[in-house]
Symmetry: none
Subunit: 194 residues, 4 copies
């Protein structure tokens, strides 16, 4: 009834994830301490351990919750014929999915060294490999393979580095998407040949 503390009963787990992601994305995983997270939430460190077994677990849970749409997308993509239209559709939906969980992917992008050693490192890498295999035929020209991978990077990095640029975020996202789609399309057609 007073709104702040009482009403939150039960959503502490969620609040931990929110604050943790915010800090992880801002400062990096290693530089964010549990003390800091706890302080922001005005609970004790021990409370975090009631909800999560380890620091890494907090991150894993965030990753699992927030990257579900991407997992679904990849699952879907796997079952489609690998036509150009499918690829374009995947890129389009991938772009949306990234935008929907921007802080998480900013974090993944900026903490690769850390993430690599963590459980989510493996999970993420596996997904990327599946995605790559959908987007590019393994027997394709090397240049076209690079083009496909480049499309993926463009999507990933695009959102964060473009923050510096002025302009409407949604405009920028669409520009990024266009470039990625273009790359995928050229890769599909074998532009490397021309």
């Amino acid at each position: 009834m007073d709104g702040t503390r009482q009403r939150r009963r039960g959503d502490t787990r969620q609040r931990i994830q929110d604050v943790a992601l915010e800090l992880f994305a801002e400062q990096g995983y290693e530089k964010t301490s549990l003390r800091e997270i706890a302080e922001r939430l005005e609970v004790t460190k021990a409370a975090l351990y009631y909800h999560f077994k380890t620091k890494e677990e907090i991150l894993v849970s965030i990753f699992e919750d927030l990257s579900r749409p991407i997992e679904d997308l990849i699952e879907w993509g796997r079952l489609q014929p690998h036509t150009l239209e499918t690829k374009q559709e995947i890129v389009r939906r991938y772009s949306e999915a990234l935008a929907g969980a921007a802080p998480l992917f900013r974090f993944m992008q900026e903490n690769q060294a850390t993430v690599r050693e963590l459980r989510i490192g493996g999970m993420f890498k596996d997904r990327m490999l599946v995605l790559r295999d959908i987007l590019v035929a393994p027997d394709a020209d090397l240049v076209d393979q690079v083009r496909s991978i480049s499309a993926l990077f463009t999507l990933h990095a695009g959102m964060f580095v473009l923050q510096d640029l002025e302009g409407d975020p949604e405009d920028k996202r669409r520009a990024v998407l266009e470039v990625a789609t273009d790359l995928i399309t050229r890769a599909h057609r074998g532009a490397g040949e021309s």
Copy 2:
């Protein structure tokens, strides 16, 4: 004459930089402790402090030493007319420069969150902005701007992510270069319009 300890007199500073870069690139900056670096070199931690004032200073000195060619390239590029040929030349030479200091740039790529808080974060960002301004006219179509930036990412990320792919590294580098050059060329011509 016994080669290990005696001969090394005087090159300790260099050896520190080498080992540090190796470990920083492998495990990340924060996860690499000075103890670890010292142990690998079979010296004490205090010896590191004889040669460098802080942990960060070690990194800064590596960055300064290894990224000199890139600084020179950017300096050169600034003075050229911003023609398509210049841009292509810059991309070509940038690709070479990155390959020449691969571990450093792998480190920069994979530790962005950390690097951002460090002195080299600012230095690096400034350089990238200059490079961007050379490669893309500020009044260009948004899509073409993205294309230019995408070219840069492709070069940066290309080298590391492509390690997974089988094939000759030099072949891969050339493939990456081709894609980047293609992106830059299309950006220059205003492909976004067509």
Copy 3:
């Protein structure tokens, strides 16, 4: 019932302060390490950090707790008319207050260089200045000003240096008090003139 470890639950903070003050007074602030304090208490260094944020904070907390009576005295003195009787009363009560927190003031006396750089240095100095302004009119004869200040020193130093002298401590304190009172009285009357 076993008295040592169990019964102490909850008074760790106090025990830290006690041991710390003892060691600070004995060996000085810089020469007393947190390791030493922790060892005496049979806890880990980290336990100290649960109760206090820094080494300095331990000292500050001791100072605040133990010098409260003096703060109160000064506060009281400020509101009194600056008559001879007031001054004598202040000196008397000050002497008692010092005796009540002897180890702290011994520490302050013997670690002036250190204390000056610490937070309590400023606090203490401010108090002394207020006290001085109560005890001596700012327009007084220079010699009388010195007399007042000398009274203060006599009280401060008296207790520690006189430890060497044989005799009952309470007798010595009263002797010191008499000399200080004498100085204050002569300063008040303008003995410097005669």
Copy 4:
């Protein structure tokens, strides 16, 4: 010929003492590192070790050099009859001697805890005891003993604490001297009796 570096040949030892005393007095003994001293002199730490065996030795040598006049004074005083005139003379000359080596005695005053553990601690204390025995008869009234000791403190502390007070330093020294002389005189006459 160029005056700074060349001419200094041979007086490095002296320069070390000067800089060391300055820093010791300013920051305290423990907080002053040999690195700091060396840097100010633009020599290496190792150079300090050419001239002095240890850090403590630097301090000892300073003490011995600068407190010679006081040692002489005490030696002289010992041989005089302990008349009032002698005592007054000693106080007068002691005041001068202190003023002549002010930084050293400021240091002694502000680093008592440190000094106590050092070699000079014992030396200094011994001298003080001799001085005390000259100034006050061991069978004197307790209050008069305090008065004598208070005179000494007044001289010691006077110079440093009075720095805050406005006014000509020489004036202040004379005021301090007057108070000290007064105390000694009253102690001699047995003012405690009256």
